[in-house]
Amino acid sequence: MKYRRLLIYIAVALAFIVELFYLWELPTNFELWWVYGTFMLIAAMIQGAGAVMLLFWPRLRLIGLFLLGNVLLIAGYLVIRVLGDSITLGMPPLASEKLNLGIVAIEIVIIGLLIALFRQGLRRRRAERPPGEGSEPEQPRETYVQMKPAVEPGTSESVNS
């Protein structure tokens, strides 16, 4: 449990750092084009809300959503900075600053932490699941039958139907 809490705290701290970065970039990008600015706004919201939820409600589904959000942010970044917008505008990749690359590195670390938390959560859920439930194939069990003594003649017992 201590290890799990440590992972959560690190992910939360990093997510807040990334949120602050997006908020710092937001004004310039919004002035450049409102779509860029809106992207930064949504990215900041994902990081901020995700960090708080991870801190207080680290449920499997929320971790999964936060993970998905970070993967989408990274994918967007890679398309713009590495591949360029060759489909719509034929533009070359944008130059990458060290700070931008640093933030991407942090987001990759967050994704790694979230994957670890997600897998851990899955394992724990399976472990806590009552026997007979879930998708895992049932293992053959040994059956123990308690042999009752035969009813002796002249005695009686109730019979449940």
Partner: protein, 513 residues
């Protein structure tokens, strides 16, 4: 039923704060900035209070049998534009507008440009038939003598930072002047920052004269006046207001909010003075008018109702004069005209004004005061300077270019500028037709060549006459031009001359092969 505890409220408060309140709070910063920018207005100035400045002519530092040599230092300076204020500018030799270079057709001009500004520069001779290495390509930069905060060679948004050439401190621009006499101009052309750098003052006339023009009895000497018309927004302290995303001009190109459509000034300047007056005699005057605005179009007319006599266009004299009751000018276009003041009695005041185009009301540009009588020895000949009319049948290639806004950027054929991509490769000596369409008004400028307008939403108008280097298409219009690519193989650019559109990547590369 879960009870709402203080702990629970705290958690929800943190969630709302980090996920909603903080981001939306930060969003107010750019929104406030955009609101403030859009509401910006210059201090009011009473028109016709100052005389028209006559622009100084730059003297060569030396000449020889074939060449005139000039030296220009681009540096900060101070202009006195608004009464009681000084305006910091960036200028050629610290002047706004820059000094006029007078060159002769057939003689080479070499201009050594030295950069004492804090940012990189590139100087383009607009209308010049110039080898590519002296054209002033936006990616061929002169780095500041004193260093710069601009990261070299790429910037964060780096619109077209691929393939930059950097000259340290200064560079010689060689202009062979193997073209007709014409009213050209030189201005800054730095990739992504042309708008703010021209706005700060980096523009000047380059008048190319030839023998054919000299032989004509047109008004000359102090009756031949270059007029550089532009507009600016001023801060209350008299400084220029330009809505840059990055006012240091070191990092992010572009203008804030609606100014990405173009920076339209609210104060009109002629030769650097606010709505000046000019005292004239009752004779003919030749005015070489350059519209050096960043974005505004003007529709010029005289309030007296008299027409202009147009004698020239971007690429020099027309074949014959044309009477124009009014004349629409787009950024970078030149209108060479004669105004005859002989019908006016002494004491008459005639206002050059602009009919509503980009501005909602009639704007007064300058005033001519007829103050003295004089004998007029000039005349306007019926024939001016013939030039070769290109035959559309001789064109071997037709190309199409659509100028439009796409995904927040200004594009040509849906693409942002990429200097490493050739959008056209005309062959040397080939004649080509280029067809343009526009989503809104775009003054389309092609480097190196002059062209003739073949169609402009049908037949060309009377304003489309002559040799041109800039072609204004209004929104939804289409037009075509014909041109010949002679004797200068290499890379050039063509672009929208709304400087904010240009800075936001509405530019293409063509390579003459």
């Amino acid at each position: 039923m879960n009870e709402v505890t203080r702990r629970h409220l705290l958690k929800m408060g943190l969630l709302g704060g980090a996920g909603l309140v903080l981001p939306l709070g930060v969003l107010q910063i750019p929104l406030a900035s955009i609101r403030e920018t859009n509401a910006m207005k210059s201090p009011p100035v009473k028109p016709f209070q100052v005389p028209l400045p006559i622009l100084p002519v730059l003297q060569p530092v030396r000449t020889d049998s074939t060449t005139d040599y000039y030296e220009i230092t681009q540096k900060p300076g101070v202009a006195h534009i608004l009464p009681g204020h000084t305006t910091p500018i960036w200028g050629y030799n610290g002047l706004f507008p820059g000094p006029t270079i007078e060159a002769r057709s057939g003689r080479t001009t070499i201009v050594r440009q030295t950069n004492e500004l804090p940012v990189p520069i590139s100087t383009h001779l607009h209308g010049g038939h110039t080898p590519p290495e002296s054209d002033g390509d936006p990616n061929e930069l002169i780095w500041p003598v004193h260093g710069s905060a601009v990261p070299m060679p790429e910037t964060s948004l780096a619109l077209g930072s691929v393939g930059m050439t950097v000259h340290m401190g200064s560079k010689n621009y060689i202009y062979p002047n193997n073209q007709r006499g014409a009213t050209l101009w030189y201005h800054d052309h730095r990739m992504g920052f042309t708008g703010p750098q021209v706005y700060r003052g980096l523009a000047g006339f380059y008048i190319l004269r030839d023998d054919a023009e000299d032989r004509l009895p047109l008004p000359k000497g102090d009756h031949e006046i270059p007029l550089l018309i532009t507009d600016r927004i001023f801060n209350a302290d008299g400084s220029f207001y330009y809505p840059s995303i990055d006012s240091s001009l070191t990092r992010d190109p572009g203008a804030i909010g609606t100014f990405a459509d173009g920076v339209y000034g609210d104060t009109i300047l002629v030769n650097g003075a606010v709505q000046p007056f000019f005292e004239v005699s009752n004779t003919k005057y030749r005015f070489r008018i350059l519209l050096a605005t960043n974005a505004s179009r003007y529709r010029l007319r005289l309030n007296s109702g008299h027409p202009f006599t147009q004698i020239g266009s971007d690429g020099g004299l027309l074949a014959a004069p044309v009477r124009q009751p009014h004349f629409t000018m787009a950024p970078a276009e030149r209108f060479d005209t004669i105004i005859d003041f002989s019908p006016y009695p002494i004491g008459t005041q005639i206002v050059l004004e602009s009919l509503p185009e980009d501005l909602n009301t009639i704007q007064q540009i300058m005033r001519f005061d007829v103050v003295r009588k004089e004998k007029d020895e000039s005349s306007i000949p019926a024939k001016l300077s013939p030039y070769e009319i290109l035959d559309p049948a001789s064109a071997t290639v037709t190309r199409q270019f659509h100028f439009e806004r796409s995904l927040g950027m200004w594009t040509i054929n849906g693409k942002r500028f990429d200097p490493s991509r050739a959008d056209a490769q005309p062959r040397l000596n080939a004649t080509e037709i280029w067809e343009f369409t526009a989503d809104e008004h775009h003054p389309i400028h092609i480097h190196d060549i002059m062209f003739q307008i073949l169609s402009h939403n049908g037949k060309p108008s009377s304003e489309d006459v002559g040799m041109k280097d800039t072609f204004l298409l209004n929104g939804g219009q289409k037009g075509s031009i014909i041109t010949k690519f002679t004797d200068n193989p290499g890379p050039y650019v063509f672009h929208c001359h709304n400087l904010e559109h240009e800075d936001m990547s509405m530019m293409g590369r063509f390579i003459v092969v």
